[in-house]
């Protein structure tokens, strides 16, 4: 919260144009990846550990959902329609959009100092005490103070850091590790994960973590004021909030 110590200049947008454009392209790509990814999972909702796994080997766990293949034992008496063709086309096209957008975002953010200024916790906040203060405020369900319309608190910054530098790289890595051609050039990509099936299982886990982030992120935006926060991410401007009782 000390980051909001300086008075915000209304001339400088809350979010730069690069942040806004890359944010919304990522939103669209992520939804495409989520839907197509779920469709691909439905064709084989069993997950394994190690190099190989199929219906004749023991799964690590099974999702209790019906399948789009009659070769998979699910316990359901019906088979869903096969949607893998377009799902795979869409998954990889959306992955390209997300990765290229992510590259533009990362390179421009290093160039402009966006990471250092807006995402890295400010030095004064790098204490457990700061995390606890923000967390306690969330627990009290106190409305965000005005400064938080202009800057991120330490928990938000940490969450964004984890998404940008841990979850996104991990989801790309575990996804690429499932490409037999990519693995022929970089065998370590899959071998260090423990094999092809481990990569697939980890891809599901990291995707679930990203989905969890999305749910919490949208919930917090709604709590802080959906219209004002979304407007800031579209137009870049923060409307001075009305007086609070």
């Amino acid at each position: 919260m000390s980051a909001a110590g300086s008075l915000p200049n209304p001339e400088i947008p809350r979010h730069t144009v690069i942040v806004r454009v890359t944010h919304w392209i990522t939103v669209i790509s992520f939804f495409a990846l989520l839907i197509s990814g779920a469709e691909i999972v439905i064709s084989h909702p069993r997950f394994y550990w190690g190099e190989v796994g199929n219906v004749r080997t023991a799964p690590l766990f099974t999702l209790r959902i019906p399948s789009s293949r009659d070769t998979v034992p699910t316990g359901y008496g019906f088979v869903l329609p096969d949607q893998n063709g377009w799902s795979r086309y869409l998954h990889f096209q959306a992955a390209w959009a997300a990765v290229l957008t992510g590259l533009v975002y990362a390179i421009s953010s290093l160039w402009t100092g966006h990471f250092r200024k807006n995402v890295l916790p400010v030095p004064a906040d790098r204490t457990w005490r700061s995390y606890w203060d923000v967390f306690a405020k969330y627990l009290r369900r106190a409305p965000p103070d005005e400064a938080e319309a202009y800057s991120y608190n330490v928990i938000q910054r940490t969450a964004y850091l984890i998404v940008i530098f841990v979850l996104f790289p991990m989801v790309i890595w575990t996804g690429l590790a499932m490409s037999p051609a990519f693995d022929s050039v970089v065998p370590a990509a899959v071998n260090t994960l423990g094999g092809r099936q481990s990569a697939r299982t980890l891809h599901l886990f990291v995707s679930a973590a990203l989905l969890l982030f999305l749910v919490v992120h949208v919930a917090m935006v709604v709590l802080a004021g959906f219209r004002s926060r979304t407007r800031a991410m579209i137009t870049g401007r923060v409307i001075v909030p009305e007086e609070r009782p």
């Binding site: 691909i40 004749r56 795979r88 086309y89 050039v185």
Partner: protein, 252 residues
């Protein structure tokens, strides 16, 4: 001029220069290496083209992972197979002695090979993983004749760009580009795990393309056609898979 606007100007200038240079280089590379897949039309064309082009620039000569004998799957999964039909059953009853592989197209000597012709040409084995687009996989030892040896023996035309291959079922046919056709691990497989290739796994003859997903490893292969264009095959999308909504290139 303030610092911020100067920086903005520099960024925009650099980005524009990089963009133009990138596009020029990309256009040259596309021309030289043939980086456009046959199913490049439609809304998923850009993503498919990016994937195929990136793979062709990175993975033309790389070798699929091979595994130690101890990792061969004890219970491989054959997946559903199309009913082979009466003609196939007659071949099966005679131990496939009359099975023929016809190689035609832009070659000097179109030839029909028996399984023993193939076996006497060249033998190579590899322990590689079959990975299905659904997500499951298994490892097996595959024994066969490298496709490139077969192509060389019939006099491959320098104009050849693709190999189309066909199964007993007219609805199942595939094709690969020359990078995969000339790849040392691309085998016309007739053996598996030290025995004959079982019918459920594609016997008597299955194409193995270990750097791509399982559906490129077509079962019951009866014919190969060497061509410089896939436009006249089926709907011109490269193989039966894009006609069913699946990508032609399956190396991902």
């Amino acid at each position: 001029m303030t610092l911020i606007s100067r920086r903005k100007l520099m960024t925009t200038g650099l980005a524009a220069t990089a963009g133009v240079a990138g596009l020029t280089v990309a256009a040259r590379l596309v021309q030289r290496y043939g980086l456009i897949p046959p199913d490049h039309c439609g809304i998923y064309g850009p993503g498919e083209t990016l994937t195929y082009a990136a793979q062709r620039l990175l993975t033309t000569h790389s070798l699929a992972r091979e595994f130690p004998r101890s990792m061969i799957s004890k219970s491989p999964f054959a997946n559903e197979t199309p009913p082979p039909g009466d003609i196939f059953k007659r071949h099966q009853s005679t131990g496939f002695t009359d099975w023929r592989l016809l190689v035609d197209g832009t070659v000097s000597r179109p030839t029909s090979f028996s399984l023993s012709d193939l076996k006497s040409l060249s033998v190579r084995s590899q322990i590689t993983e079959v990975a299905c687009e659904e997500g499951w996989s298994y490892i097996a030892e595959w024994i066969g004749t490298p496709l490139i040896e077969v192509l060389n023996s019939v006099g491959l035309s320098p104009r050849a760009r693709y190999i189309a291959y066909f199964s007993t079922d007219s609805e199942w046919w595939e094709s690969i580009d020359m990078a995969d056709a000339m790849h040392p691990q691309t085998l016309l497989t007739w053996g598996m795990n030290d025995g004959d290739l079982p019918v459920s796994f594609g016997g008597p003859l299955r194409m193995r393309v270990p750097r791509q997903l399982g559906y490129k490893s077509l079962k019951y292969v009866t014919r190969l056609t060497v061509t410089d264009s896939l436009k006249s095959f089926g709907k011109g999308l490269g193989s039966a898979e894009p006609e069913n909504g699946y990508a032609w290139y399956a190396g991902i």
